[in-house]
Amino acid sequence: MIEVQGLTKRYGDTVAISDVSFQVARGEVVGFLGPNGAGKSTTMRIIAGSLGASAGTARVGNHDVADDPRGVQAILGYAPEVPPVYTNMSVRDYVSFAATLKGVDDVQAATKKALGRVGLDKVAHRLIEHLSKGYRQRVGLAQALVHDPKVLVLDEPTSGLDPAQRVEIRNLLAELAEGDRTVVLSTHVLGEIEAICSRVIIINRGKIVAQDELARLSAVGRAVKVEVARPGPGVLAALQALPGITGVDELEGRYVVRGDEDLREIVARAAVPFGLLEMSGRERLEDIYLRLTAGGAS
């Protein structure tokens, strides 16, 4: 549904994103993860057609964003981080204005449906400037889904919300993701990704550093951490000699062994002669994230 190929965006000498490529299949819910300033918003804006790329292509459905932006925008709903609202309009007027812009046939029905979906019926008559941040965020969502788009691109839909609002929006997102709607959402709240997304793309300093199924990324045994009583070069050599591993890191007497399958048994056997003290076979998303984006925060 979304195909991004070699996307690059430069501002003068600053490179916001470089050579970003990924695909999102129909019906998939993908989480976009990365520190602030990593290039999440830039990528999403390019896909939504509000920003041009310096190089590379982005396709949504069968439309190229650069050649046929209106074709993309007709089937894509985009909620930027700052809700693009006119604060002097009432919620209902604003959403029906958005529906008109997006070329919806029955504006009234679409508005009613969108307001119902995001739970704004009760405040529909109120001016947006009088709404709380959580409600404004919902107005931003209502605007994105008023034309019942096949693809939703949401930039930090839960930023700045209190925990209760966050849970509400998260439930809403899970609801929206049902059916064959394709959803890409960015966040730096890892729990959100774990709760809603099936796949995660981690981006750091404008480059994709990992993209995989959430289940595979944090599968048991793919990264095994061991602590031994007698660390040394011998341990490292023994671990590196194991079959099916992709890498070994040493960190203050602890070793992290990585591979593509469950390594727990062979690592345990190799570590016992050196006095195995402790071993854990599960790497949390948080650890993966911190490892991959180390030094990238800005």
Binding site: Y11, A48, G49, S50, L51, G52, P69, R70, G71, Q73, A74, L76, Y78, P80, V82, P84, V85, Y86, T87, N88, M89, D93, F97, A98, T100, L101, K102, G103, Q143
Partner: protein, 252 residues
């Protein structure tokens, strides 16, 4: 178009629209009353001076000066009306809604322009009251009234188009206001420099570019195609420039 309608209602629901409307009505009324008093004075003088009586004419003494005085107010009113059109959307990021909806940049620009023209028409319609009073009490030439109104709307439209363009250049409304006021005033008073020049191509060009000379013809009741084309060209040029600018906003 939806964008235009939204802009009109935005003017009606925010103080800025009403403030401009009130200021306009106040000043227009002031000039109207001043015009009436002068006319009254002239009529009284005419009792003793039969030659002056020939000069007495509602069109020349009230309608034309009134619209003449209004031009200066228009310069400011149009800049103030148009300053928010795009600059405010950019500051609040509401422009993202427009840029990510399946509408062309030109549709956004024309919609914004029509919204401003719509509100300008509402402002202009307040003057019908005074037109009505003149109709009741005197015999103004409907042709001159019409051409003055036409000139008024064309000038207003041109100034709004300039304002719309400057509004797309910045996120700061005050900057947009000042720049559009400066550009508008430049074109408006360009004619003055023309008067100082020797006859020649330069003088003709400068006078042609000046809004003043074109508006004067219309205010005298002379409908010339070239004047109308002048204003429409101006509007077209600035709408085109604004469209290019909005298109550029998508790329940065």
């Amino acid at each position: 178009m939806a964008i235009g309608r939204r802009e009109v209602s935005a003017y009606m629901t925010t103080p800025i629209g009403w403030i401009i409307l009130c200021a306009f009505v106040l000043l227009f009324s002031f000039f109207f009353v001043v015009g009436l008093l002068q006319y009254d004075q002239a009529s009284a003088d005419a009792v003793f001076n039969p030659y002056a009586a020939d000069q007495l004419n509602v069109n020349d003494m009230i309608v034309a000066p009134l619209f003449g005085n209004m031009q200066v107010i228009l310069l400011l009113a149009a800049s103030a009306l148009s300053m928010r059109l795009i600059a405010e959307d950019r500051r609040t990021r509401a422009i993202d809604l427009l840029l990510t909806s399946p509408v062309r940049s030109s549709e956004i620009v024309v919609g914004k322009f029509l919204g401003a023209i719509g509100f300008a028409t509402i402002i202009a319609s307040t003057t019908f009251l005074y037109g009505g009073i003149l109709m009741l009490l005197g015999e103004p030439d409907p042709g001159i009234m019409f051409s003055n109104y036409l000139g008024f709307i064309l000038l207003f439209g041109t100034l709004l188009a300039i304002g719309l363009f400057t509004s797309s250049l910045t996120e700061n409304q005050v900057v947009a206001l000042m720049v559009s006021f400066a550009i508008s005033l430049m074109f408006y008073i360009l004619g003055w420099t023309g008067q100082l020049m020797d006859d020649g191509a330069l003088k003709t060009t400068v006078e042609y570019l000046s809004m003043l000379s074109h508006f004067e013809q219309l205010s005298k009741g002379v409908l010339r195609l070239q004047d109308i084309v002048y204003f429409l060209t101006f509007i077209g040029f600035f709408l085109f420039a604004t469209t290019q600018r909005v298109e550029a906003l998508r790329w940065r």
